[in-house]
Amino acid sequence: MANKVLVRQEFKVVGTRPIRHDGTDKVTGRALYGGDFSLPGMLYGKVLRSPHAHARILSIDTSAAEALPGVRGVVTAKDLPRPEEGIADVGEGAVNLRFLSDNILASNKALYKGHAVAAVAAVDAHTAEAALALIKVDYQVLPAVVNVREAMKEGAPILHESLRTDAQGQKGTTPTNIASRIQFAKGTLEQGFAQADVVVEREFETATVHQGYIEPHNATGLWSSDGQVTIWCSTQGAFTVRDLVSQILRYPVSKIKVVPMEIGGGFGGKTVVYLEPLAALLSRKTGKPVKLVMTRTEVFEGTGPTPAASMKVKMGATREGKLTAAEASFAFEAGAYPGSAVGAGCMCAFAPYDIEHGKIDGYDVVVNKPKAAAYRAPGATQTGFAVESVVDELAEKLGLDPIAFRMKNSAREGTRRIDGPIFGVIGALDCLEAARASDHWSSRLEGPNRGRGVASGFWFNIGLQSSCTISVNADGTVNLVEGSADIGGTRASIAMQAAEVLCLRAEEVKPTVADTDSIGYTQVTGGSRTTFATGWAAYEAAHDVLRQMKERVAKIWEANPADVTYEEGVFGVKGDPKMQMAFRELAGKLNHTGGPIVGRATVDPKGQGGAFATHIADVEVDPETGKVKVLRYTTVQDAGKAVHPSYVEGQMQGGAVQGIGWALNEEYFMTPGGTMANTSFLDYRMPTTLDLPMIETVIVEVANPGHPFGVRGVGEVPIVPPPAALANAIRRAVGVRMTRLPMSPGAILKEMGTV
């Protein structure tokens, strides 16, 4: 796994691999997750969920449940304030407040099987469960629509009578399931296709899949008699939980404190709220702390999966292998409420390539499935599967090497995407070069039914607000406080950036992820932003510490602060080499020389750099069973700067594995009536260790000029290429072009004409 380092600048801490600060607690089981939390006198909550995919709620009678001994309170949508129409920002997307509130507890209609309609708090979980059975809900069952193509048809069952298509700001006039239509265009499409010698056009479909985090959603709420609300939960963004709970309950943010517990995976799915408002409501009703934890079935049926998609892609190229035109139509299932990631999917689709003429249409469509949430590079994996399959087919038709073809058309600095933006310094071409130079690409793949595929992918990465404080300890170490949930080793990558500035070792910076009362506003851990943005806040806060320490040195030495220097951990004064004081020595003097020093910074950086990846997959297909074995898999990715390479590799591997699962076996297996049949990890088949080879990694570092250490963000793009890389490999192994996900054994047998 030879990493390709293209960054010139050398660092002392950034780029090394220290042991993570939270490592010991996690491997010894001491770390406290949401499910571990408990308070004296705590009640247990359970949620009643709709057994129907689409039904009008005529009435809810909770009296029998309330009368059950041990039950302390029941809430329904009536307990929620009637929300205003409005938009809430959750970092990776915007949500309509009324829809958000209805998703917490259904008011008029249940829109998917698993939709919450009531919640109970009782002295124990079994009593709460028994109470659920006593709640009488009178449903008028309606026909359900659980497929995007069906939902777009005239005469399809309508989920929201008030919904009108928003087409680039133009509102439609009739009820519809198409919440919005977007379009991006560049050049003149007809001209582009006229220049092409070869054109490939194909339709693709992907299934609904779940993020599959191991830890189910949980929340404990305490509504104190003085009106202060505290919520302990597992989230990617404590401040987002605070904002959303405040908006849903119409309660001031200042009275809500959210304490983020350790998080057992989120992948985008924990950037929204489900149980948090219920825990608060039930606590207000009962006067006791109330804890709710979902079962796996509830997680599958009631929390955001990632959208199924129906897609059409057409691309043309000249005989010489130059792409001339690209056209696509992407329809995404938003689930029960508008807001799929189709926009991001459209923008990422053709981003790896420089194409002169293009047009992309996107449709956001509601269906009777749980409301989609973000999932690692939201939208980009679906569209990437379609585009990279077509790119591969073009290369095949032209008789060109798939990497050479991609290199010839690669986006580079100055390339304008079809959706408008012009790329700055990017590593698209560098990833392709590194893939071509990799050990994997030059190795030979022999034997029947084996094939090798490649695919590239793109994700923007985001900036957004982060805060950080650093206080200096008397022993020369520092405590760093930040607000970013650590889902991938970011305590380490953030602390390391402060350590670099302060000339400390990584272990001498002790990071803490604080609650919303204890640190400034910080956006979600999502969009691959945390090492980039919160790391930047740490960088600035460390500089603030240094500035104050220089002032202190100047005061002690009666020197001009501007003349104080700091090198290799030692303060000095220009022109007087005898004057020297180590960081630790000064730290020990702070309390008697003017008081403690705390550095602070808040940032809202705009200079995020996009991330590119290229993956190589070798597979063997059993032609009698259709089963795919992944023989070898290599991920190549531009990290900008890998602050902690082990965690960058971990993200690359984890993303690739999730993409492989999505490609091969994962899917919501829906009955026509809208029930998910496979709501356990037994039948929702994520890959296990035995299903995978070691995922090889090649980190490419094309420094992002928009960050002090060149960081781009690495968490999301690795999920984008796998489905296409595997489809392209399967094509070469057994000759079939798979255009639907998952590429399960049954689907492959069918495509091969065996069954």
């Binding site: 069973t625 089963k627 076996n665 496979n678 037994l682 296990t688 035995l690 299903d691 049954g746 069954v755």
Partner: protein, 296 residues
């Protein structure tokens, strides 16, 4: 889940008495890897759980060249595949015991529980049928024996009557020049439920050129594990060849009457019934010839 009573009898008679007393409201607990999952999933409620892991007869694992093998109903999988005599004489049983769940599950899961759970895809059942196992059943009446192929009557249902308990499985000693193999098809490489499975045993002629007899069992292609006598009959007296094996595979395909569900389609399962029968037969023949064959 409601509160229920947990009892751990020390003898078969005590266990039977505890079961009889509560009738339908009592259930046997062996490894619990089906029972507890189903109970938590709300499939049924209980008043009493009767843990049989402390009953000596249900914990025996004994091989004798004349009598064959006795596997107590509560013996966990790991004891089966770690036993050298079992591995030497009944490798097909090891094929099954090794793939039920993962290491943790195998520390608890028993063949008795696998059989009594009566799932059409239960992994030990096909191997047991191929190996001519019989189920020894104790109850309020006489102790009785039932061939495993007659044990399951519907998904989740068996011949066990009220108060009855599976005590052990008895397998006859392997015949000379015989071999058996169990295979399942799953989309993943572990921790999965068979889309289709095949348990096969074959006895070869003294010159190893033809089949004397064969037994073929299929899983997950009918409401119960299926004993396909037609497939065995198709092989009797036939030369050992791909053509003969294809006849048996075709018989297996014909016998399969699967359903469409989230795990597979009718066509896929019929096709796989033939593929797995073919592959398992090849393995069984190789083992009969003394060759080493890997489970999966």
């Amino acid at each position: 889940m409601n509160d229920f009573e947990y009892r751990a009898p020390a003898s078969v008679s005590e266990a039977v008495a505890l079961l009889v007393e509560k009738g339908e409201r009592a259930r046997v607990l062996a490894g619990g890897t089906d029972l507890i999952v189903q109970l938590r999933g709300g499939r049924f409620t209980l008043d009493r759980m009767v843990d049989v892991k402390g009953v000596p007869e249900l914990n025996q694992l004994r091989y004798d060249a004349a009598e064959g093998l006795v596997v107590g109903a509560a013996v966990p999988c790991y004891r089966i595949y770690e036993d050298e005599l079992v591995a030497a004489h009944y490798p097909a049983l090891v094929d099954a015991a090794r793939i039920i769940g993962g290491i943790q599950i195998q520390g608890r899961a028993s063949l008795g529980g696998n059989l009594c759970n009566a799932s059409p895809s239960g992994d030990s059942i096909g191997a047991l049928i191929a190996l001519e196992a019989t189920a020894v059943i104790a109850g309020p009446g006489e102790t009785r024996s039932v061939p495993v192929e007659q044990f399951c009557t519907a998904p989740g249902r068996s011949v066990l009557g009220p108060g009855e308990l599976l005590v052990a499985l008895r397998l006859p000693p392997p015949k000379p020049r015989s071999g058996a193999h169990y295979l399942r098809f799953i989309p993943r490489y572990e921790m999965d439920i068979a889309i289709v499975s095949a348990g096969v045993a074959a006895v070869l002629s003294p010159d190893m050129s033809s089949f004397v007899s064969a037994r073929v069992a299929l899983g997950a292609v009918a409401p119960t594990p299926l004993f396909v006598t037609e497939a065995g009959a198709a092989l009797a007296g036939k030369p050992i060849s791909e053509e003969s094996i294809a006849l048996a595979a075709e018989a297996a395909r014909q016998a399969a009457r699967p359903i469409n569900d989230m795990r597979g389609t009718v066509e896929q399962r019929r096709h796989l019934a033939a593929v797995l029968t073919t592959r398992a037969l090849r393995g069984a023949v190789a083992r009969a010839k003394g060759e080493q064959v890997n489970g999966h």
